[in-house]
């Protein structure tokens, strides 16, 4: 019941928020907050704990899909740019957050070890950017272009860098707080283990999945095998205590580069499954938020974290983009696109609370939860403004998207020549010779629909002799099987075309006047031109 409530309320809220052009992820978080302990108490801590494996599943699928976007052609084109931006924004964020937290912490706490531990760990966590909510906004606004590609590359990679920084920060923290920290060499071994094993599991899992996918073609098989292998990858990574996100992402990278054509359908099918899980994931995150643990020092540290992270990410991204001579839109708008943090940051905060139980761990969890809530409100909004400003929104549209979002009036041919019912054959032939339509509406003197003349009818009449003087359109036309109104969705137009197995549909007004015409082959042509136009727009951006 709670899951159903979560999905229903989250989805309803997102529809409402969409009217005000607010990203749907914010709606999910707010609904979750209202359902959680802080307000109505419908979703409690026990329920949230039980959903930990689900969170890993959603994060894993997200990582896999992000990996699927990282094609080698992109790295060939953008590799140097990614590395420069990645290190600039992640490291500057780490440095500035650590500095701000230490500065503010020293004002409220006497224990400098505690303050430095907090600073370093929060600094490391700040490097990560939320892949799920970031890509959610990109997918929601169907973006395409250099800014989108850069964002996808960065959010996919900076989690890995965040893990490395966290491992380093953890080891230093162990040393500072004196809890029997492992030696530096063990620390590096742990980092190597974490990343190396995660990548290894991802590659092996991806290879196994590619062998299976190559042999099957039915959608049911593709989905079930893909999900099965991904869950296996996540499970093994979790069991071996390495990074599940990195494993899943590596598998995605492997698939998209090893079997690009076959894996395209697989990624699309998996993407189609994700809307409902995302609703649950972000709603449950919102439900975790508990404002009761906030005190004045924590509030100031939260502010310091937010300022340090915003400046670090923003300035670092801009600096990295300039160094690597990225396109103008990337230099200008990327700083606005890296604010979001969610699953990875929260996961690391939970990890910190386990490694450093007590004041350090508890503080980190509260700070990350509150800051995540804030940046998840601001981040998607800022990103929406950025991708729209960069001109990349609406460029990543598929043929299915165009059909889904169009009505008959958007696609119909409004210039189709009418054949009046009394028009003699000679004139009909002239019209045929001057246009490339295969079907023509036959209308009365008031342009009301009577029938259709097809090229087959013309052929039949041409093959017979002696008819030119008295055959008119009325004699040649065939009755119309179906007609549509101009505001009928194109999905329904196709359904009618397929149901009656016809190649055309007249578009008529309320008084049965013909106002347009739809021919199946012309529909395809029009949609294709639209796709080419969007593709050219995206390419022109850099």
């Amino acid at each position: 019941m709670l899951i159903g409530l979560t999905v229903f309320l989250g989805t309803s809220a997102s529809r409402l928020f969409k009217r005000f052009k607010v990203p749907q992820v914010i709606a999910f978080i707010i609904i979750g907050f209202l359902l959680g302990d802080s307000v109505f108490g419908i979703i409690n801590r026990e329920f949230l704990s039980a959903f930990s494996p689900f969170n890993i599943f959603v994060l894993g699928i997200t990582g896999f899909l992000i990996g699927g976007e990282l094609k080698k052609e992109i790295f060939g084109k953008y590799g140097k740019q990614f590395i420069n931006i990645l290190f600039s924004e992640a490291l500057l964020s780490f440095v500035l957050v650590t500095a701000f937290v230490v500065l503010i912490g020293n004002m409220f706490f006497d224990n400098s070890a505690f303050v430095w531990a907090l600073g370093l760990l929060l600094g490391a966590i700040s490097a990560a950017t939320a892949p799920a909510s970031t890509t959610d906004v990109l997918w929601e606004y169907k973006t395409r272009g250099p800014l989108t590609t850069t964002i996808l590359g960065i959010v996919g990679l900076d989690d890995g860098l965040g893990l490395v920084l966290f491992a380093i920060a953890s080891s230093i923290t162990f040393a500072i707080v004196g809890t029997g920290a492992p030696a530096i060499s063990s620390m590096f071994f742990h980092i190597l283990y974490d990343i190396g094993v995660s990548v290894g599991i991802g590659i092996l899992g991806g290879f196994l999945l590619s062998l299976i996918i190559k042999k099957i073609s039915d959608k049911y098989g593709i989905i079930t095998f893909s999900l099965g292998i991904i869950i296996l990858i996540l499970g093994i990574s979790d069991f071996l205590e390495c990074d599940v996100l990195l494993s899943a992402m590596t598998a995605g990278v492997f698939m998209t580069n090893y079997i690009p054509r076959k894996s395209k359908e697989m990624f699309e099918l998996i993407s189609e499954l994700m809307p409902a899980p995302y609703v649950v994931f972000f709603t449950l995150f919102g439900a975790q938020l508990n404002l009761g643990n906030l005190n004045l020092p924590i509030i100031f540290i939260v502010i310091g974290y937010l300022i340090g992270r915003t400046l670090g990410k923003g300035l670092g991204a801009n600096m990295g983009a300039r160094i690597s001579k990225a396109p103008a839109t990337v230099k200008k708008y990327l700083p606005w696109c890296l604010f979001s943090q969610a699953g990875v940051a929260i996961g690391l905060s939970i990890l910190a609370s386990e490694r450093f139980p007590g004041e350090i761990g508890d503080s980190i969890v509260v700070i990350i939860t509150v800051t995540t809530f804030v940046v998840q409100i601001v981040g998607p909004l800022a990103m929406r403004i950025a991708v729209t400003g960069a001109g990349e929104a609406g460029l990543n549209i598929t043929e299915e998207d165009i059909i889904r979002e169009s009505e008959a009036k958007d696609i119909m041919d409004i210039n189709v020549p009418f054949i009046y019912e009394h028009m003699p054959l000679a004139q009909i032939l002239k019209t045929f010779s001057e246009t490339d339509n295969l079907y023509y509406p036959v209308v009365d003197k008031n342009q009301r629909m009577l029938g259709v003349i097809t090229v087959d009818h013309i052929k039949n009449s041409l093959m017979t002799t002696g008819l030119h003087s008295f055959i008119i359109a009325y004699d040649l036309m065939e009755p119309v099987v179906a007609k549509v109104s101009p505001d009928l969705p194109m999905t329904e137009v196709f359904e009618i075309l397929n149901r009656y197995n016809i190649e055309y549909l007249p578009v008529v007004s309320g008084s049965d006047k013909v106002i347009g015409f739809l021919e199946r082959r012309q529909i395809s042509r029009k949609i294709f031109s639209k796709l080419i136009e969007l593709q050219k727009k995206a390419e022109a951006l850099g």
Binding site: H457, T464, L467, S469, F470, E478
Partner: protein
């Protein structure tokens, strides 16, 4: 395909009427009785509507009123001869119509419909055939001319 296949001896008339409307009504009436069609009103409406768009008087004394209607199972051809002519039947050459071929086909019999029209026109292009039809003294004689 041969015109003979559609000529029905029961649907050949030596017309008494000499007004276009009456001629057509008479022929339609006979067709509906003979073929047991129960949509006479629909046939009347369709034939006269077609005439309103463009007269089917094609010249050389020939008229070919024709229409396609839902529910007709196979094409029907009726032939009427008015020796004295039907003066109010509009034609392209002002020669009075004396030979009327009334053709009714099913809505989906487009191909047969066009072919029958073409066969009629081809047959009647020959002046000898037209003269023999007009001079014929009985329905049986007409029938023999048409199927020859």
């Amino acid at each position: 395909m041969k015109l003979n296949n559609y000529i029905d001896g029961n649907l050949i008339f030596l017309l008494q009427e000499n007004k276009k409307r009456e001629v057509l009504l008479q022929m339609i009436n006979s067709i509906c009785e003979n073929k047991r069609l129960n949509n006479k009103e629909r046939v009347n409406e369709a034939i006269f509507y077609r005439e309103s768009l463009m007269s089917t008087g094609i010249g050389l004394g020939i008229a070919v009123p024709h229409v396609r209607i839902k529910g007709i199972k196979e094409p029907i051809v009726a032939v009427g001869i008015q020796k004295d002519g039907i003066p109010d039947y509009e034609t392209i050459d002002n020669i009075p119509v004396k030979i009327v071929f009334l053709i009714i086909a099913g809505e989906d019999q487009h191909k047969e419909y066009i072919q029958i029209l073409s066969l009629v026109v081809t047959k009647l292009k020959q002046s000898e055939v037209r003269e023999r039809l007009i001079e014929a003294k009985s329905k049986e004689e007409l029938y023999q001319i048409l199927i020859s």
